[in-house]
Symmetry: C2
Subunit: 130 residues, 2 copies
Amino acid sequence: MSAYEVRPVARVESPITDPAAAPKQGFEGGAQAWLAFEPAVLDALDGLAPGDRVMLLTWLDRADRGTLRVHPRDDVRNPQRGVFGTRSADRPNPIGLHEVEILAIDGGRMQVAPLEAVDGTPVLDVKPVL
Amino acid sequence: MSAYEVRPVARVESPITDPAAAPKQGFEGGAQAWLAFEPAVLDALDGLAPGDRVMLLTWLDRADRGTLRVHPRDDVRNPQRGVFGTRSADRPNPIGLHEVEILAIDGGRMQVAPLEAVDGTPVLDVKPVL
C-alpha cells in the first residue's frame, strides 16, 4: 500500500522533557503546555477559544515503529499483548491521541492541559471533542 | 519542521463507496465494515476481542490538504471557521478518528461498526478507548 507524508502543524513546548519520567496519560499528571503553530496554518485555528475541549494528534518521534507486542504499561508482570490493544507509543504509526482543554490562545500559540507529551513533540492535528 | 511517513496497516472494506453519500460521523448512520490488515502487523492485534471499543485512525486520502477554513458540515449557512475547530476531512493532515466496536475477528480481518469511512480508506492505527 502507498505511504503518505504527515507534516507537523505545531510543536509542543512543555516542562516535561524526559520521556522516561513523563506520565503515560494526560490525566495521570500531564502538564500545562504551549503549542507553537506554523504561521502557514493559523487560519485553521479560527473559532477555537479557551474552555474548548479538543483532541490533539501528535507524532511520537521517539517511538520504535517495529514493536508489535508489549507488556502493557511497561510492567513485565503484565502479559504481552498486541500494541493495537494498548496505548504504547511504540507502534507502526506512532500517532499520539490526547484530550485536552484549551486554556489560552495568543496569536499562533495555544496553551492546553493536561498534556503528557514531551517538549518538542510534533503536533499533526487538532479536532473538537464530539 | 521534518515530515514523517505513515504506512497503512489495514484497509477498509465497506458498503459505503460514495464519499458524497457517506455519513459525516459513524453515529450518524455508519456501516458495518471489515478491516483487512497487512500480514506484517498481525501480532499487533493480539488480545483484541469482539465487544472491545477502539479508536480507529484512518488516512482520508481523498481530502484537500490545503483547506484551512470551511463552512461546518458543508452548509453555507454556517459561518466559515478554521478546520481545527471542525471534523472536516479537508485539513493539513487528513487523519480520521472513529470510535467503533469490534464485532468479529477472523485471522487478519476485523469487523467493526459503526464506521462512516468509505471503501478503500487506509487505516493507520487502532487504539483502545480509555
